[in-house]
Symmetry: C2
Subunit: 342 residues, 2 copies
């Protein structure tokens, strides 16, 4: 009959190979204390039966799993997809399995996802861009090695990998200033994560260049529509003739909205106005005029996260806060100021 059999167990393999379960267990994990002949017979039995260890049983007995739990706050955000990529590559390189859970970028969803992850008793947990409250995160960190990516948390129970947002903003402003711009306006990220640092970085950089008086911030957000709206407001407020020479936008999505609104008004980029983004999202390289932006080493961040987790597993008890450096990617939306007032 078309009967789905119970999957073979360690015991089945042991019987098939004519040895004890303990020996199979050892052999499976590559112990050296198993004779070559036994090892071969066991391998054969495994292949013949199509045996696959039951991780639930293994984890239960071993009190330790080769599983890394990764909470992705928002799957739609390609930023996290990149981080997860680096993460899983590094995990695989060390024989670790990655389990992903997603929280739809809201606290309740993330809390539930974190619960699931914790229930699986993983060897470590990585939180990418969590919107979760810090108390919940710290509580989790007491149970399992935990690393937070893209959010800084002051706690020595957990590690973090973040990017230097200030430096990123400085990179953007410096580039624009070098091109000859002076009136540089910032379309910020509103209340989004990292928005405050990018804003502060911008203000500092402007002041450093003696341009503090020309600094101006218009409220934005991290979505295209936020960028569109902000630009729309800017156009209404200052009018087309009084536009700044350059716009430093808090992230690439928002910058796409900015460009769309600008295009609608017939304003030429970068001829009339320069635009620079932040993140080096996939979309930045896909526009007909490709976006100049601040690159974040996302894959590297994922790899560093795994390294931190492994460090904890190896016994490190002190917090490790990695801050990675962004870099500038000059593409097509920035140029020296043209006829417009710079």
């Amino acid at each position: 009959m078309e009967q789905v059999d119970r999957p073979p167990t360690l015991e089945d393999v042991a019987r098939e190979a004519g040895v004890s379960r303990a020996l199979v267990s050892l052999a499976l994990r590559g112990s050296t204390r198993v004779s070559a002949s036994s090892r071969d017979r066991i391998q054969d039995a495994v292949a013949r039966l199509g045996y696959r260890p039951n991780l639930n049983a293994r984890n239960l007995a071993a009190h330790l799993s080769g599983i890394l739990g990764v909470l992705v706050s928002d799957l739609h955000n390609p930023f996290f997809a990149e981080v997860v990529d680096g993460l899983s590559a590094e995990a695989a390189a060390h024989g670790l399995h990655v389990i992903l859970a997603t929280g739809h970028a809201n606290q309740a969803g993330e809390r539930a996802a974190l619960e699931t992850l914790l229930s699986l008793r993983p060897a470590g947990i990585a939180l990418t861009g969590p919107v979760l409250d810090s108390a919940t995160i710290e509580r989790a960190a007491a149970q399992v090695p935990l690393v937070v990516v893209n959010r800084l948390l002051r706690s020595d129970r957990l590690d973090s990998v973040t990017i230097d947002e200030y430096a990123g903003s400085a990179l953007a402003v410096d580039h624009l200033v070098e091109l000859g711009h002076r009136r540089i306006t910032h379309v910020d990220g509103g209340a989004g994560a990292g928005a405050a640092s990018r804003r502060t970085g911008y203000l500092r950089a402007m002041r450093r260049h003696g341009l503090g008086d020309l600094a101006a911030v218009v409220r934005g957000g991290f979505t295209e529509s936020a960028g569109w709206d902000a630009t729309d407001r800017l156009l209404r407020t200052v009018g087309r003739r009084d536009l700044p020479g350059a716009l430093f936008v808090a992230n690439d999505y928002s910058a796409v909205g900015v460009l769309a609104r600008l295009g609608g008004a017939g304003i030429e980029v970068p001829g009339e106005l320069s635009v620079i983004g932040f993140d080096d999202a996939h979309v930045a390289g896909m526009l007909s005029t490709q976006l100049t932006t601040v690159h974040q080493p996302k894959q590297a961040m994922g790899r560093l996260a795994v390294a931190a987790l492994r460090g904890r597993q190896a016994g490190r008890a002190t917090a490790q806060r990695q801050v990675v450096a962004p870099s500038l990617v000059v593409r097509g939306t920035t140029a020296a100021p043209g006829q417009a007032l710079s």
Copy 2:
């Protein structure tokens, strides 16, 4: 001391509440055969201890987990992100946990991810856009309820959820014809999944409109660069004066590349040439001239996948092949033919 305690177990809760483990187990899963007073005491104990069930133990004992394994072939593809979203929403609605594994769109990676998933002994597995060979998939389907999203497999051991690619192509061609176009060229998806069906659907639709002789296919792919290259080739081959009136591109990413190349050549869209994509990817709505495209109900596909899995769990033994219908989203890149030869 700063000691991370062993997490509390069912036994700890039972002791704390002064009842047996079995009763706690029942109460935890909401059995009605538990008195109100016991239930309260147990709830208290759970809260006091911060108890969280060990899913490894639970799954091991129950031979069944509330876990759905989802294999995402490529996290970078927002298409899958959407599907997973629908999937996890539906799963959550039925008290199921979703575990994601990713395969980086290559067979070896997917095979490893599938192994991990199977080892976790989930209640069901959903494969989204797998590039895996069908034999491996069928083998997995013998062990656990399995549904394949976005790829059709002839097997009655597994269910599938796909979109009607032919209908999608027909929608695109019909729209263009209604606008008055006759010379409609297809930039295809090359060897990509679904590309063949979209191509066939295009050819059929052209013939149905009596436009079989005007049908032309240029080799493309599912990436922006593929679209860019294809358009570049087209421009060289037929020359700018002899361009068709409309381009039906196999997916939105490719369409972005097409638009970029067209923009570079100073060809106006949709004034001089209409362009229509396929997928309704996020990017389609983000361009300065938003892309007209064929929408795929991605979230719904995710929900249907979970429904199929639940059907199998409930005992259904026959294959269920769901084919969802696409729809047309008219935006800014299509219009009636202008001065160019239509």
